[in-house]
Structure formats: C-alpha cells, structure tokens
Subunit: 449 residues, 2 copies
C-alpha cells in the first residue's frame, strides 16, 4: 500500500501540464491522498505546482497545502489571490487555517480574512492567531463536540450529529456547564453502549485531563504521551472550554522537537533537509564550523604558550588531538544524557548530586582508558614520565569535560534556556580548549618533577 | 493538572509501607492515574514497589507495570509468581500482554501461559509472540471491532456493542468478508450520522489504509504520521485482518527512534537514562571513548611520522586539534543531515549526485573558513608558507570529511544497516585520522616547495 513517486509519474504530470491536459491531471489526482499529492508537488517545478493547485478543487488543495514543504507553500501562496487563499482557508479546520494565515504578511492577512465567507470560521481563526505557535493555544483547533451537562442523552445525540458534521474526527464529547466551563467528558464507547434515555449528568466522566491555553507545546506533548491521550481539551484562564488538541498534531511536535535536538547536537543552527539549497545548508552549517575554528585557534595559542616543551618532549604534542577528541566526546555524551533527561522530565534531584555522580563516572571511565593509554605510550616510547604525564592528565581532562557537559545544560535549563543548544558545538569547543590547557599544565608539572 | 512527585508524597508512601498501613496506601493510589503510580514506583526502593504491586488490584497494576522503567519491571516480575503474573496478563490488551510475556524466560513463559484463564486471550498472545518486536505484528493488538460486509446495520450495532466492551478505544470499525479478508472500514462518525436501517455494504468505505504483519515498525510510523491515522489495520500475507495498531504505540516508536538516533550520534551504545547506575552508564559510554582513544593513538602515530617537521615548523603541530575538530564537525553535520533524511524517507536520487553536492558545499564552507584562518595565522606568525599550508589543507580536509560523512550513512543504508550508527563515533574518529594525515601530507608538500 506504500505510495512511491516514480520518475514515470513525474514525467506524466509534466507532460499533461505542458499539453494542458486537465482531464488527465484531474483523473490522476482524484483517487490520490492529499499527502501523496503534496509529495509530488515538492518534486516538480514551482510553476507546475501552482498550476495543479489552481486546477484541483479547494477541498483537496487545502489539505495538500498543509502537507507540502514550507518553502513550496510560501511560493504557492504568493501566487494565489486573496480570494483563492480564502477559498482554501474555508475548507480547513481552524488550527490549520490559522497556521496558513500566520505565514502571510499582515496586509495579506487582512485581505484574505475579508474574503472568508463563513464569519464564525473567520472569528475562530482570528481568535487562534493570538496564541504563540509553541503553546497549547497555537496547537488547538476550535472544532469539537460539546454537550451541556443539563441535556438529556436524546437531545445530546441530536446536537452531536449536527456538530459532528463539522468535526473531522470525533474523539471525545466534552461536557460543559451553562457558562461553558469544562465539567467532564463522554466517551463515544460509553455512548455506543448506553441507553438513549439516560440523562447526561448521570453518564459523563467528571475526571478529564486538560491543558491551559498558555501551556507549552512540549508539555502538552509529554502529558498526551504519558497518559496515552488521543485528544485533550484546552481551557482558558477561567476554565472555559476553548478548543482541543489532537494526537496527530502532537506527533508532529514530538518528531520536530526530537529532530531539533538532534540537529543542534550535530551543530546545525537551522532546520535543514538534505534537499535544501547549498546556500541554506551553508547558513545552517557555517556558524558551528566558525566556532570550531575559533576554538582551534585558541588551542593553538595555548600550545604556543608551552612551546619550550616541544624540544624536550615532542610526544606530548602528538597526543593533543587525542586529548581534544576525548574531552569533546565525554562532553557530548554527558550533555546528551542530561538534555534527553530534561526533555523527558526525568532529571530530578539537585545539580550537586548530578555533578558528584558524573565525577565518579568520569573518573571510572578515565582511569580505565588512562591505564590502556599509559601502557601503549610506555611500550611505544619507553619513557615513563611522558606516559605518566599523558595518562594522568587524560583522567583529569575526562573528569572536567564530564562536569562541564553535565553542568552547562542543567544551568541553561534553570535559566529557562533550551539546554539542547549546549550539546554539540558549544560543549565540544569549550572542552577542546579546556582539555588542552589542563593537559599541558599537568604534563608540565609531572615532567618538571 | 500536571502531576508532580513531591518529597512529601514519597515519604508518606514509605511511611505507610513501613507501618503496613494498607488502607492509607489504597486510598492514596485509588484516584491516581496508572502512569503517575508508575512514576512513583520508579522512585522508591524495589521492595516497596513490589509491596505496592501486590497490594493494588491487578486491573490497576497491570497498566502500572507497562509504564514503569524496564529495569524496575524486570525486578518486579522476578518477584511475582507465575499465577500473579497471569492475573496481570489477563487484564492487559494482547499487545501489552505479549510484550510482558516476551520479557520472561522461556520456562516462566510456559508457566505463566498455563495460568491464564481466558483461553482465547492466551491464544492471541501466543500468536503475537511470533512476530519481531520491531514489525507491525510486534506492535499490533488483537482487540478490534470488525463487522461482516453482509450484515445489516442493525446486526452490526448489536455485534459491535459486544465487541466494544473488550476494546479500550474504538477508532474504526473494520469491514471483512466471509473469509475474514479486510474489505474496508466504517467510521464511528458515519455510524453516528447514518440511519440504522442502511445495509453495511452500502455505507462502508472500501478504501482503507493497512499494513502487513511483517512491515517494519518505522515504516508503519511513517505511514501513520504521513496520513494522520489514529489506527491502522494489519493484514497477513493472504489479506486476512489479524490486528490493529493504534497511534499511542506509534508515538512511542517515533520517540524511541528519534532518541536512539540522538544517543548513537552522541556516542552512547546503549539506551541509558540520567538515573541509571554508574555501571550501566559506563557500559554505554566506554566503547566510543575507547574507539576515540584508538583514533587518538593513530593520530599520534601519524604525527610521529612527520616528526622532522617539528623542528622547522612547530606551528603546524599547534593546529592539529583545529584540523581534527573541523574534520569531525563537518563529518557529523553532513552525516546528520543524511541520517535524518533517510529516516524521513526524503533522500532521493543517486549517491553520486549527493556526493557532488556535498563536495561543492564543503568546498564553499572550507574556502570561507580557510580565508579567515589564513589571515589569522599570517598576521600572527608572519609566515606566508605556513599560513598557506594550514589553510589549503583545511579546505581539503573539510571536503574529504564532508564526503566521508555523506557516503558512509548512504552506503550503510544501501547495505540494510541502520545509518544512525555512523553519525557519532565512527565518523568523528575516522575523520580525525584522515584529517590529520591529509593535513600533514599537504603541509609537507607546500612547505617543501
């Protein structure tokens, strides 16, 4: 059942567009899922994509627009009139509609909003635009099924049928009081099993998980994942039910958060894909490389400061890449563990406890590695002092690197800064410099003995 | 609404257990979500955790067992009798039940299975144990709601009520023919709106997404995410409906895949958490560090080979950490982009095209960085040849590192090996060595001119 884009398919699409064979195009896309159409649009030229968007009906294209790559969507929207965009918006759920509107310039936003026919829909979208995109309010949709606790099941079912027409997927039926405050929920299953004569107040479940409009998207994701929820209602400051968030949006949040952390750890400062242009990729990659370059120049400066050792003990200089690599590796490992623990909310206890544990761990690893290194250098160079100097400083470098890798993300997190920015470039570079400084300092001490 | 473990709460739990105050314990846990109870069990001692598991009823504890950390569960299961485990299993859906059974030794598996009262349930579990845990079969549950295409809606609703009692969440009603082959689906919403007299064959949707039992978990996740599915039916080789996978399991797959890639990139060879023991953390961290150590020793050997340069041009040796760091950084960046692209299935086109693009990109980045480095070294050392040697080799090192970082994950992927293993340690270490070799080789050429 997996859909695969073939070269032949793309050639056909291009050919049909060239020949203006609209019937063939419509026929081709009619049976296709919007996510598959979006994949095709990502592969063809931008003019061809606009042609197809204008050709197909807005019920299909609105969903396609949500699925194409950001840069493709931006270009397509630029080529649609305010009225054409409004037609797409009319077909979308409020959360998706608000996401599209938010991507437009302020002028265009107004122009598009004035073209939207359904006033209720427009009001809901304007309401959603108020919220930060990384908050519960920014994720939620206004479409939901709610019933009043004072209704009978019979009235409830009638009202629900009307409401359900507008809601793509019914997960839960939310129960509110006369003022709109969230009271509880009815599960569809209960409804399936319950007799139609039961009053709502008797069948609803008063215990219901919810989030507040200003809660962070990542926290919403953690709650929904922890409690295996497929939808969660959102309430405002007064407890009034204002929207709901569905699991499909949360899946994207989880995926994006994890990818962002991974990219930051790999030293990519922008969200890039393999298919992005060389310029975009350079913008994402160059900042870290430049930081690494500065770190390397700093390390060279430190080594220059120990240049009188180069005549007496050149071996020390041969091991600087080893020291720098170990300092970087240990730092990346310890920071990755902390960053992941913080993201999953299971780093508890004080910073001091963490640091003591990391010190013991790093010391254990360091001593094992240093013993091996000592034997290697001693057997190779037959020089006890040099071998000792290199191995002892390796232990110290590993301990310091582990402490830095543990402390920096914890410190950033306490300050409210995303600790993920620390994992890659920052820790590696600072550990390189500290590592080499400690290394030569200790080595000089031991060799000077 | 967020649940937070407090010190006070943990102290109370410990105190109640010490005093054997079972009523207070039951009262405390009655209203609590199983995921919250699991969090508490992760924090208290193992004996206390077993005490609570034995105290609470198996309807609660079975779900708690699914939510505790793997190592806590392993210890608890060891302390339960086969009969006690069977009682937990009886309460669980088949997918969770099979996961627990799979964690037991073969002997215990048989002992537990023979204690399970519901024979149908036991048969389903045995059936599920056949599948690889990373396949659709390993993720699916046997519980689902299915109706025959030849039924009337009236019969369908009656049958569904009976089936729905056993299914935690009803997502879709699957329609099968007399032989059990998947024909299509009925949405609950359609059912809510449709009149009860309509025949099934007229209302069901014949187009339904499905996966096959042997499809990989990651592919299932990609399909469900792409098409925004909340459940997907699983069919066997003959097209017979055998189970269904729900989005909550897929959320875990997505999260785990992303975390695994991140951990591998950070050089952690086992799935560890900040709270794991120092021994577990050492087991996860030491292998990469050891690889890094070998790489460093290799680099030292290479530098020793160029030792005659140390008298004439010591500056070259000061820049080895810079060269090694840049080679590592570029390799990590380019491999991360490829690994993420492969995971999201959007790396298309030939390996050669990718390599040419990476070469251009690396050359561009390399030349920008080399110009800066050239000026720095020239102004610092006032030595044109050395500055030129270091900068020119930096460009070449960056290009080679980028090519290695791009090629290795693509090559591993073609061979059917998870490319994520390449990103961290492997690429960093090999790039360090290649980088330093190229650096000295080029430098010697230029300086010898």
């Amino acid at each position: 059942m997996a859909f695969k884009i073939t070269k032949e398919l793309l050639e056909n699409v291009t050919l049909y567009i060239e020949n203006g064979n609209n019937n063939a195009l419509s026929g081709l896309f009619t049976e296709m899922h919007h996510a598959d159409i979006a994949e095709i649009l990502d592969e063809i030229t931008f003019d061809e994509a606009v042609y197809i968007i204008k050709l197909l009906d807005s019920e299909t294209t609105s969903e396609v627009l949500m699925d194409v790559d950001d840069d493709v969507r931006e270009k397509i929207l630029k080529n649609l009139s305010a009225k054409e965009i409004a037609e797409e918006i009319d077909e979308l759920d409020t959360d998706d509609a608000a996401d599209i509107i938010a991507e437009l310039s302020e002028e265009r936003q107004e122009a598009v909003m004035s073209e939207i026919e359904d006033e209720e829909h427009a009001k809901d979208i304007v309401d959603l635009l108020r919220y930060d995109e990384d908050s519960a309010g920014g994720l939620m949709a206004k479409e939901l099924v709610k019933v009043n606790e004072n209704w009978t099941v019979l009235k409830c079912v009638k009202e629900m049928r009307a409401q359900a027409e507008e809601v793509t997927r019914v997960h839960s039926i939310y129960v509110v009081d006369d003022s709109g405050k969230l009271k509880g929920r009815l599960s569809l299953k209960d409804l399936l099993i319950a007799s139609t004569r039961t009053p709502i107040s008797e069948v609803y479940i008063p215990k219901v998980d919810f989030v507040k409009v200003n809660d962070e998207a990542e926290d919403v994701a953690n709650i929904m994942r922890k409690y295996d929820l497929e939808a969660i209602p959102v309430v405002d400051e007064l407890g009034i039910l204002v929207g709901r968030i569905t699991i499909d949006d949360i899946v994207d949040v989880i995926k994006e958060e994890a990818e962002k952390d991974y990219q930051l750890a790999a030293g990519l400062v922008e969200d890039v894909e393999a298919d992005d242009s060389i310029l975009q990729l350079t913008r994402a990659r160059l900042p870290w490389l430049f930081l690494g370059l500065l770190g390397g120049i700093g390390a060279a400066g430190i080594m220059q400061g120990f240049e009188n050792l180069i005549g007496t003990d050149p071996t020390l200089f041969y091991f600087t890449p080893l020291i720098a690599a170990m300092a970087g590796n240990v730092g990346v490992q310890s920071s990755a563990i902390i960053v992941q623990g913080l993201a999953n909310d299971d780093v508890t206890g004080s910073i001091n406890t963490r640091l003591v544990k990391e010190m013991l761990l790093a010391a254990l690893n360091g001593i094992i590695l240093a013993l091996f290194l000592f034997l290697t250098v001693f057997l190779w160079k037959d020089d006890f002092n040099t071998a000792l100097a290199i191995s002892v400083s390796l232990v110290l470098v590993i301990i310091v690197a582990g402490l830095i890798g543990t402390f920096i993300p914890l410190f950033l997190d306490k300050r409210g800064i995303d600790p993920a920015i620390a994992t890659g470039p920052f820790i590696t570079t600072s550990n390189d410099i500290f590592g080499i400084l400690i290394y030569f300092w200790i080595a000089k001490l031991i060799i000077g003995m």
